[in-house]
Symmetry: C2
Amino acid sequence: MANHKLLLLPGDGIGPEVMGQVEKIVSWFEKQGLGSFSLERGLVGGAAYDAHKQAISEGDMKLAQDADAVLFGAVGGPKWADVPYQHRPEAGLLRLRKDLGLFANLRPAICYPALASASSLKPEVVEGLDILIVRELTGGVYFGEPKEIVTLEDGSKRGVDTQLYTTGEIERICAVAFELARTRRNKVSSAEKHNVMKTGVLWKQTVTALHAKSYKDVELEHVLADNCAMQLVRWPKQYDVIVCDNLFGDILSDVAAMLTGSLGMLPSASLGAEDPATGKRKALYEPVHGSAPDIAGKGLANPIAMIGSFAMALRYSFGAGEAADRLEGAIADVLGAGTRTKDIAAPGANAVSTTEMGDAIVKAL
Amino acid sequence: MANHKLLLLPGDGIGPEVMGQVEKIVSWFEKQGLGSFSLERGLVGGAAYDAHKQAISEGDMKLAQDADAVLFGAVGGPKWADVPYQHRPEAGLLRLRKDLGLFANLRPAICYPALASASSLKPEVVEGLDILIVRELTGGVYFGEPKEIVTLEDGSKRGVDTQLYTTGEIERICAVAFELARTRRNKVSSAEKHNVMKTGVLWKQTVTALHAKSYKDVELEHVLADNCAMQLVRWPKQYDVIVCDNLFGDILSDVAAMLTGSLGMLPSASLGAEDPATGKRKALYEPVHGSAPDIAGKGLANPIAMIGSFAMALRYSFGAGEAADRLEGAIADVLGAGTRTKDIAAPGANAVSTTEMGDAIVKAL
Ligand SMILES: CC(C)[C@H](C(=O)O)[C@@H](O)C(=O)O
Ligand SMILES: CC(C)[C@H](C(=O)O)[C@@H](O)C(=O)O
């Protein structure tokens, strides 16, 4: 059995607590002889800034480059509101994405049947929802240059960000979306603003051409990003896979996640290109939720998104689909048995702690 | 009584039908001696392209410049999918916004009590909702240069859009938000992505400084745009006024509108700066909904958003607040009496046509 190099970057806020639950699960798989992992641990975000005065150290970047998969908790919090911009906690995450070339961010939005009533939407709108947002993660306005604030002659300032996309960047993310759609309901909705943005025009042209060339068996539709946000609220079940750029993906995936009422439960995967020599791809797995500094350290956090992110790592990085199924099955069983952390418990109902939820999942494995 | 110069630009799709209802209301006000309007009519969008091969003619731009207010229907449709990019229907709207300097787009999202059940959200989440999105409308990635697609040496292409904001542009839109908040629940939520965008950093700095200087009596909060989209779905009543840039405003206002279940009912105003000499400001009023080509010409469109846009014109451009109240009261009465166009009727229930709805509102005046 291969030995998998796993780097744990718990980060800030509730990150360490939820990561702690993953460590138990890793041990369980090892004890059962179902996997062999060599774990490294590093710092990212505010925790890294406190230790090294940067949002991720060169040493931890090196570990990330060498790992088969990175598990990332969450970063940020009021404590670091005033650190220099280039060292803000998010800079650690953005550097990991960019330097590891993690261009494909997969964000499933699944409404767990047991939790349909936790959504702010009507149950019939979200019950059974299972959509996947495929977000481009290393381009667009996040990284384009110039990206600066300049002081003008009269002392006022001008801020600039640059949205950049090449044909190649659009093709590779859309190919991921088409491939994944084939394993699902075979439909891709491509969201952009071609009516306003030239990158949107290029996006629409490129996905249309790629579809005609290699993916005619998949249904392709084009939707304006603003309309897509609206349709996600109106009737999300019309979607299967939504593919979009970095900034639209940031917003649309948050809307999609919130629909499910399961924000504390949604994992995500960020994948790089396959290395033709080794067949491997760099990968980082993180919960969709943030660092939630208000509840950090109180044992209130729901570890399911983090544990589900490890399940994605088993599937996409370690070729261990069965182990992933088993872990996801355990999560479903625990939920089915009514075990709830506070975020998903009915008002006034009993809730378990972060650790108790982790233990329950280990037990159900 | 002043004579108000009103330019009607019905545009495409359902635009002409809903504009037709406004004309009846204008006549009613004139007949009652409650207002005097000189109406001009022009073409915009696909209709203008068909007539002049451009999305708005120079003559109609001149009329718009001279008008006290422009009433705009909607533009676009599949018929014009292949017109040259610079002449696409939306270009007419974008040119009006830019050339008239309409930097302040006010988009109320109001959940009419009679329609709370039409929302995809749970009634308790949206009942009584009354928020206002103040969107910057003449800057940002919509207009920044470079904005182009270039062909690279290897034949592939690169698209570029530029997000640009100056201190002055941010100050003037945020001032509008603060002023309006004072007439409402006195809270402004400023949405940006300062964790990723330099324009977001400048936006946050600028609104903070303006608040400290002139609006300390108004509550100011900062929210990341992705989180704001999420919070709008989770618990929208936490907001009063949301202020944001052009692109975030495009998406957030569509999400907010959809929450209300009243998409066919929401008006908007786009205002320019006050001319210090005359005290007047240029203005354009348009429904939030689009041209809905699928139902055009069938008498199915809901004219309330368009009529409500005329009410906003009465209030903001013609200093006729009482007339605006009267018109909005008539809309509320008609809804209260159960009159419904198809989009807001219960499934299977009787619905009235566009014209019948217009007539009912005239009658209720
Ligand atoms: C933390 C932040 C930089 C990040 C982003 O904007 O991409 C987050 O919102 C996300 O969606 O992962
Ligand atoms: C039609 C289009 C150009 C426009 C925009 O993107 O601003 C529309 O979506 C809107 O919100 O008014």
